[in-house]
């Protein structure tokens, strides 16, 4: 390519200079700015992102701006939306709207922390296995295989049952049962990128292993990981909701899943008690999926529509 350009310039100087020829150079690094631009041109993804921001802001500032206790009995039991409260009240008279508002903070906080832990375990295991290969890879992959054999929901139910339904245990129970996906993905990316020229060059220049992993390979493995992590947040929200629904969560924290679980025996008399918290979950996770799809398209413009 380079010689081609050079020769052309010479040719142009030599008198044929009729045409101007431009050549684009491509570097192996990811074009983040281009990605952001592509993402913003995707209306669905942008809309999803905006809705998510609204939810996050509601989670952060809602409880401060609207001080209340989600466990407080404020209305007639099973009163419908608009009777005493905006979205109705449950069988004890707790306000559904306040529950959702306060649940936003707890749900998002637990889901984000659990995702963080999941991703941390997954990337660490995957990176070590992919980078070092050989015996380390073998051992780590056998361990991964073992964890894949345990059905996530049942396993985390067991963990919570055996230990406690403390928030920390719930977060760990989610992370311990789901990290394998990220581990396999990271390992696959590492195996692929490890052989690229710029990685070999960095190695030749004597970069330490830690530096190779965190500064050279990981940043280039990021695009697929970013997409996977985004989608993982959505899965974790639903996962946490399922555990909360089954009552396997901290008794002092109100989450969306718990609201649905608490009203299980009464929802034939009060559809609003389960419908609204469920819609909140659906909306947030849907928006995460839209953002994930948008990122996917932005990172791989050629694969659009797949």
């Amino acid at each position: 390519m380079e010689t081609g350009t050079q020769k052309l310039t010479e040719g142009a100087e030599a008198g044929t200079g009729v045409f101007v020829f431009e050549e684009s150079t491509s570097k192996p690094e990811i074009k983040w700015r281009e990605t952001v631009r592509l993402f913003c041109s995707n209306i669905a993804a942008l809309l999803g992102f905006i809705v998510l921001v609204v939810f996050v802001l509601a989670g952060i500032f809602g409880p401060t701006l609207y001080p209340a206790d989600p466990f407080e009995l404020v209305a007639a039991p099973l009163s419908g939306p608009g009777e005493f409260t905006l979205l109705g009240a449950d069988y004890l008279g707790r306000d559904v709207f306040i529950g959702i508002l306060y649940g936003t903070r707890a749900t998002l906080l637990i889901a984000l922390t659990a995702t963080l832990v999941t991703v941390f375990i997954g990337i660490t295991v995957g990176a070590l296995a992919g980078f070092y290969g050989g015996m380390i890879d073998n051992v780590l992959m056998r361990i991964t295989e073992f964890f894949q054999v345990l059905p996530p929901l049942v396993f985390s139910m067991v963990i919570v049952a055996v230990f406690s339904s403390d928030i920390l245990v719930v977060i760990l129970a989610i992370a311990v049962t789901t990290w394998t996906t990220e581990a396999r993905l990271t390992r696959a990316e590492f195996l692929k990128i490890k052989e690229r020229e710029y990685v070999l060059a960095a190695r030749a220049m004597g970069a330490s292993n830690l530096r190779m992993i965190t500064r050279v390979i990981l940043p280039n493995a990021m695009p697929p990981l970013v997409i996977a992590i985004t989608l993982r947040i959505g899965i974790t929200i639903i996962y946490e909701a399922a555990l909360s629904f089954l009552g396997l969560t901290d008794p002092d924290v109100m989450t969306w899943g718990k609201m649905i679980g608490l009203s299980r025996d009464f929802f034939f008399d009060a559809w609003w008690t389960v419908t609204f918290p469920g819609l909140a979950i659906l909306l947030v996770v849907l928006c995460i999926a839209l953002v994930g799809d948008g990122l996917n398209d932005a990172f791989n413009p050629k694969l659009r529509g797949r």
Partner: protein
């Protein structure tokens, strides 16, 4: 090839042992032991009796010996005893299994067959209406909590339009004739199966669409067309078998989850399956049952993985020559 299968089965066996060891340590970590459970059941007892019982159960021996004993027990199929149900855990689980299997297997079959067809149809017109529908459908499938969907379906089809029963698997009283009893069970399973199948279906449609789009761009599809084959033959003979490979992988994974995939749906629809058994045992802290279910679920996954590998090998001749 035979060697590969034996290797696979051996690995499966090692995994089973590992699960048993994990189970043992979880049992150790759980508060209380068999003796506590027995005494609680008997309405309390003095410490001397407790110590005697512990000795008779070998609970005073070193952990490692206990573990080996537990290992031997489980390998013989003995998962312990539930004092709450007054029944062996193995029998308890087997008793709850049929409902779970009926529910998950029918949902899985519906989802795989329809999902594949949806995916094929969507891939033929990647910009068409149906293709977009599959995309939106799979987005909702990803975002909808299955237990919530179950409740909404109950509200609509059992409460507002009372077409189907809301809970249980049999009417009380049960119909006399065996065929009516069968229809009664089917009737009870419609809504939970539909709930589970619709979310599976969303996933299968997406996977099979993507896989089909991929395969349709392959060189051998172009070859099939240059040979003058008709379009249905190109799609259903040449493309489908290749495109089905990822679908088979996913179906195999979910086949491994038949045990556990329906925990939430069964709970919502109050079906007497493994899910509610697990849930209620957790509420009652009935640890032998809880860990028995975990073990059963893990073993199902291991077996399903081996079966999936075998099917995959049959479908893709390239695999055999590698191993």
């Amino acid at each position: 090839m035979k060697l590969a299968i034996i290797q696979r089965i051996l690995l499966g066996f090692v995994l089973v042992i590992a699960v048993i060891v994990l189970n043992f340590f979880l049992l150790q970590a759980a508060p209380g032991d068999v003796v506590d459970a027995m005494l609680a059941e008997a309405g309390g007892g003095d410490p001397e009796l407790a110590a005697k019982l512990r000795a008779s159960y070998g609970l005073d021996q070193p952990v490692f010996i206990q573990m080996l004993k537990y290992l031997g027990q489980v390998l013989k199929g003995d998962l312990g005893y539930s004092f709450y149900y007054d029944e062996s855990v193995t029998e308890l689980i087997l008793g709850h299994l049929p409902t779970t299997l009926m529910l998950t297997l029918s949902a899985l079959v519906i989802a795989v067959v329809m999902g594949t067809l949806f995916g094929v149809y969507a891939a033929m017109k990647p910009k068409g209406f149906f293709s977009n529908f599959v995309t939106v459908f799979s987005l909702f499938g990803y975002a909808t909590p299955v237990f919530w969907l179950g409740m909404i379906i109950l509200l609509v089809f059992a409460l507002y339009i009372p077409l189907f029963p809301a809970y249980g698997i049999r009417s009380i009283p049960e119909p006399e004739h065996w065929f009516d009893r069968f229809l009664d069970i089917v009737n009870h399973l419609v809504l939970p199966t539909f709930t589970l199948a619709i979310l599976y279906l969303a996933n299968y449609s997406r996977i099979s669409r993507a896989s089909m789009l991929d395969v349709l761009g392959a060189d051998y599809i172009r070859t099939a067309r240059t040979k003058g084959l008709s379009e249905p033959k190109v799609i259903f003979k040449h493309a489908l078998k290749n495109a089905a490979l990822p679908v088979v992988t996913l179906a195999g994974l979910q086949l491994g989850q038949v045990f556990s995939g329906a925990v939430l749906v069964e709970t919502v629809f109050s079906l007497p399956g493994v899910g509610p058994l697990l849930y209620e045992s957790i509420v009652r802290r009935d640890y032998p049952v809880i860990l028995g279910v975990l073990f059963g679920a893990a073993v199902t996954t291991i077996v399903a993985n081996i079966i999936t590998d075998l099917i995959y090998q049959r479908m893709d001749p390239r695999i055999q020559s590698i191993t």
